[in-house]
Amino acid sequence: CSNTDREPEYTSEADLYEAAQAQMRRSQWETAISNLQSLEENFPFGTYAEQAQLELIYAYYRSGDADMVSATADRFIRLHPQHRNVDYAYYMKGLSSFTEGRGMFERVLPTDLTQRDPGAARDSLDHFAQLLTRFPDSIYASDAKRRMLYLRNLLARYEIHVANYYFKRGAYVAATNRGRYVLENFDTTPAVPDALAVMVQGYELLDMPELSAQMLDILKLNYPDHPALNDDGSFDFQYSSDEGDRSWLSLITFGLFDKSEPPGFDTRELYNPEYQDAPQPPSGV
């Protein structure tokens, strides 16, 4: 049995690093990754060692390998706890799980993420929170905050969709609680106006008029332009315990055509900016 062939004689440390940089510019992530790995293994104490590990994290991110990103980032944090760029490692951990849920399917086709399980994005909330607690003044802090805000908006809007379903289903306690959950947990998100509307309608349907009126005042006070408010300040209830009107077409076709179904509350255009892409790692040695 022949022994394994020896690795190619290492070129110098600087050449390996330059080669990796060039490949990264040409976004040949796989070759860049192998170069950076061999650089780290053979020149563990070289001048480029730490920078190579940072570049490796970025290369794995761009090659879409989320697990390796967090594994490499964890290793960097463990080896160099006081490194000046260690906040980048925390940030990349958050970022990789943020985009992990987004397969090709979601990026290409317009999918409404607020109606689905955000998947790994939920963990990126804690990674970003960790970054903000440890390095409040890191250069990534503002971007992390914006992403966290985006995710919290996502989760808050999700609650409103569920509330709309439970109104359709006739489970008014469930709907009202979903509204309250938004007020208690996502109070600064643009879903709050709809949450208030949900509670106004929920209490009404639970025939607790005084609570419903209380909620209506808060809504009118904070969001006078909410579409569910009529001009005279009363609330335009989409569901009511008595009979709604139905078009004659849906009457004769047993409701099979033109079924009149209330649209539910969705004032995203009014209150909710979007946020998407991701920055490069810090340059400089």
């Binding site: 706890p81 849920g101 399917f105 689905r116 399980d117 439970y166 289903r169 489970a171 079924k259």
Partner: protein, 863 residues
């Protein structure tokens, strides 16, 4: 003597970062330091474990820390391991934190061999041995090579139960997970010893006896013995059975929350019966579940037997503790990154904000399974922290492709450019709507089809769907199929649930269908003309040609003129001759489905029946009705094997005076019917069109050179037995002509007898009978079984016809031993492109005309 540290200098650092050293060093610049402090510092640096040697020195007031790092492991290679893969071994090494880049310590060596040996003993390979070589590398690194001798796996050679008089050894060992080596052991590996399995089996043995009333059954001792060469294991269980105990009294205690008679009805132990632990535990489980249905999610019911040794009786008391009524605060879904929340939430039978009911929570899980969108559905009920009566219910799902798509671009000389694309998605963009469209285009066939169905048009599950289709084909000159149909139409269908497991549905369809006979259309479809009594048949095209010639005044033998080409000439009429080939119809359909299958795709438990009836509305061109029944049921045989029984029955007939149209016939054979036979190849055959190839013609060798030249041919039709018309020296016998056969003006060729069209195509029938039995088993060596279903099957089926004409072959009234049957192995694999199905089968009962097909494969079948 002590001194104040003005600065700390660290030397010899290579791989470890200065930060780690400083964080481990208890001394700081500016400390007043004694030799005792220095000794303490040295010890703490040693504990870090990265350094082979730590020396503290003093250079004036500067503290000098000289470190010698231990070598780091550059590479770990493992050789000689076959049974356990290298990654698994590396994994267990990593668990005892030994991996590349780690600092190498003496203990690491011990750690490596211990970890690997534990791994092998866990696999029952007691004879395994591990030895390690360490090779130094430049730059203070080491290469660790581990060679493993896996030895022979210890196999269980004997399990002996001593002291069992009432029940035989086989009966007792049947429920065991551990078995002594049998012929199947190399697949199942059930003869590999593991302590957990043995404890599990001991419990199975105990409950076997307790379930049958042997309350004082005891396992005195168990021995696990190894043969000296460490390759054979013997297990001995010494038991004492004791006697059967009878139930003397059944009592209920605690706050029942339900009327006592209702609870008593759920207890399956009666006074005087033999005691049985399984009946006792089942009874308590039913009561617990019944309480769960009343909202007492945290109810606990426990049956306590009290033995009376003398008269061998037992008093059973059921203690019922309903606990507080629990309410569901929130229902959360995890894992549906593609499917939208409402598609899952609308399947819920448990409401948020309502009383928690175990059976509703469980039933909702099954409804999610039944959607067919998820590979796996798990449910967890967790208490809400801070409350004692609120729970959150968590459903975790794992999505799977729930549709199929395909794109075929090809070119074939007979069909020109072939382009076809089809997408069928049951969870369109995760909205739960079923959308499918397909288009295919080639020189002789274009087909478009669009189908859309919304299963939840209303919140109660009223479904509404439309289906539009258009196909156009012209096989006329190409004898591929007996006929082709152009059809276009639209179908509106809707349905709604009439119970949790039953649905009914209606459909209204308007269809315009044109049948196009082809050159080789069988005679049941269109008559084949014959010229005169006894003459051979000619094809339609040839008949058209004759009519043309008559019209152009070609000379015909006397007596033949257009009016002769009359009824008698045209042979018995086919269907199209009687009813034309254009059919506009309205179709009305009704179906009833009852399904308790546990999964939408690849079900393994439950039963499903589907009954449907479809009829052409009177007033259309056709008057037929079609009744169909499909049923399948799954029964668990053992932990791993499931029996699947399936049947498919169909009956179609006409109710008015128009006959049953042949294009509404049932076919049999191939996937979904009887595998092992060519698709749609069973059942009655059509009588092939009569075709006469001989087109002899008259030739008189005017110039006598024996060579045919144009000028010498005469035109027009000649009666083939008319020697004089052919000229004296023409040898009629060579013509092999049938008396009364007309010949045309084409050249004489070597005449071929009119041979029957050799292909007897399947024509279908109006009665379809199919049945199949399959044993579903897990494929060995494959971890993720949820996307796979493999089975051995025996299938039988055929189509029969109540209107067989005597000339049709293989056409019978329904008759059991006329069923074509086959046996074989089938595999279905759900892939992103749709279900991939393979089948390998051998016919075990064949009719003459059946065409067996050993290997069959299909991708993206509709489902």
């Amino acid at each position: 003597q002590s001194f104040q540290i003005s600065d700390i200098r660290v030397e010899g650092l290579q791989r470890v970062s200065a930060g780690t050293v400083f964080s481990a060093l208890p001394l700081r610049v500016g400390d007043q330091v004694t030799s005792e402090d220095i000794r303490m510092a040295t010890r703490s640096l040693f504990q870090v474990g990265y350094f082979a040697d730590v020396a503290m020195g003093r250079d004036g007031d500067v503290l000098v820390v000289k470190l010698e790092e231990r070598p780091a492991i550059n590479e770990i290679t493992i050789e000689g391991n076959k049974v356990i893969k290298t990654e698994d071994l590396m994994g267990s090494l990593r668990d005892s934190d030994l991996f590349e880049g780690q600092i190498f310590q003496r203990a690491t060596l011990e750690g490596i061999s211990q970890a690997l040996e534990r791994e092998y003993i866990g696999q029952g390979r007691y004879g395994a041995s591990v030895d390690i070589e360490v090779e130094d590398l430049p730059r203070n690194q080491v290469k660790v090579t581990v060679n493993v001798n896996e030895g022979k796996p210890a196999r269980i050679k004997g399990i002996n139960i001593v002291g069992n008089d009432v029940y035989s050894e086989e009966e007792l060992l049947e429920g065991f997970e551990l078995k002594s080596s049998g012929w199947l052991s190399w697949i199942t590996g059930d003869d590999k010893y593991s302590r957990e399995k043995l404890t599990g089996d001991i419990e199975t043995l105990e409950s076997f006896y307790l379930d049958r009333g042997y309350l004082s059954f005891r396992i005195d001792s168990t021995q696990v013995a190894l043969s000296p060469d460490k390759s054979k294991i013997y297990i001995t269980l010494n038991v004492s059975e004791g006697e059967i105990y009878k139930v003397s009294e059944v009592e209920l205690a605690g706050d029942l929350k339900l009327p006592e008679p209702l609870v008593r009805r759920m207890i399956m132990l009666r006074e005087g019966d033999d005691f049985s632990q399984i009946l006792m535990t089942n009874s308590s489980e039913y009561i617990t579940q019944r309480l769960g249905n009343e909202g007492y999610t945290f109810a606990e019911v426990e049956g306590i037997p009290e033995k009376n040794e003398e008269d061998k009786t037992v008093k059973v008391t059921f203690f019922v503790d309903p606990g507080q009524r629990a309410y569901v605060r929130r229902i959360n879904f995890k894992g549906n990154t593609k499917t939208i929340d409402e598609v899952l939430r609308r399947e819920m039978r448990q409401m948020e904000g309502g009383a928690a009911s175990n059976s509703q929570i469980e039933h909702s899980k099954i409804r999610l399974d039944r959607l067919g969108f998820f590979k796996e559905v798990n449910v967890e009920t967790n208490e809400v922290p801070g409350t004692s009566d609120q729970v959150d219910v968590e459903y975790t799902v794992e999505e799977q492709p729930s549709g199929s798509m395909g794109l075929q671009i090809g070119y074939a000389e007979y069909s020109g450019l072939l382009l076809s694309a089809n997408i069928q998605q049951n969870n369109w963009f995760g909205t739960g709507k079923q959308v499918g469209f397909s288009l295919s285009n080639s020189r002789f066939r274009t087909a478009y089809n669009f189908s859309y169905n919304d299963p939840y048009f209303t919140k109660d599950g009223v479904s509404r769907g439309i289906n539009l289709y258009y196909t156009k084909s012209d096989f006329a000159n190409f004898g591929v199929a007996g006929y082709s149909t152009d059809t276009y139409g639209a179908r509106l269908s809707f349905g709604y649930p009439i119970s949790e497991i039953e649905r009914i549905g209606f459909s209204f369809e308007a269809r315009d269908l044109t049948v196009k006979p082809s050159a080789s259309s069988p005679r049941e479809i269109i008559r084949t003309p014959v010229i005169g009594e006894g003459a051979p048949y000619i094809t339609q095209t040839e008949l058209e040609q004759m009519r043309e010639d008559i019209a152009m005044g070609r000379d015909f033998p006397d007596g033949y003129s257009d009016n002769r080409v009359t009824e008698s000439v045209l042979g018995e009429p086919g269907y199209l001759d009687l009813y034309g080939n254009e059919f506009q119809d309205g179709l009305v359909g009704f179906n009833y489905v009852k399904s308790t299958l546990n999964r939408g795709m690849l079900a393994t438990r439950g039963t499903s029946q589907r009954f449907s009836i479809e009829a052409a509305v009177p007033g259309g061109d056709l008057e037929y009705y079609k009744i169909q029944f499909q049923g399948e049921t799954y029964k668990p045989l053992t932990r791993a094997l499931t029996l699947k029984l399936r049947t498919n029955l169909g009956f179609v007939d006409s109710y008015g005076d128009t006959e049953l149209p042949f294009f509404e016939h049932f076919y049999a054979g191939g996937f979904g019917s009887v595998r092992g036979f060519e698709r749609n190849s069973l059942g009655p055959r059509s009588t092939p069109a009569e075709r006469s190839y001989t087109v002899p013609f008259a030739w008189d060798d005017a110039n006598g050179d024996g060579v045919i030249s144009d000028s010498e041919t005469s035109s027009g039709y000649l009666l083939c037995e008319d020697q004089e018309a052919f000229g004296e020296n023409y040898d009629l016998d060579a013509l092999k002509c049938n008396p009364g056969e007309l010949v045309t003006q084409y050249g004489v060729r070597q005449s071929q007898l009119s041979n029957r069209n050799s292909r007897y195509d399947a024509f279908g029938g109006n009665i379809q009978v199919e049945a199949g039995a399959e044993i579903l088993f897990p494929l060995p060596f494959i971890k993720d079984q949820r996307m796979l279903q493999s089975s051995f099957f025996v299938e039988a089926g055929n189509v029969f016809s109540t209107t067989c004409s005597e000339r049709q072959r293989n056409c019978y009234e329904p008759d059991i031993d006329r069923l074509s049957a086959s046996a074989g192995f089938g595999l279905t694999w759900i892939t992103g492109f749709g279900p991939l199905t393979f089948a390998v089968a051998r016919p075990i009962n064949e009719n003459e005309e059946d065409k067996a097909e050993f290997f069959q494969f299909s991708l993206g079948g509709s489902f």
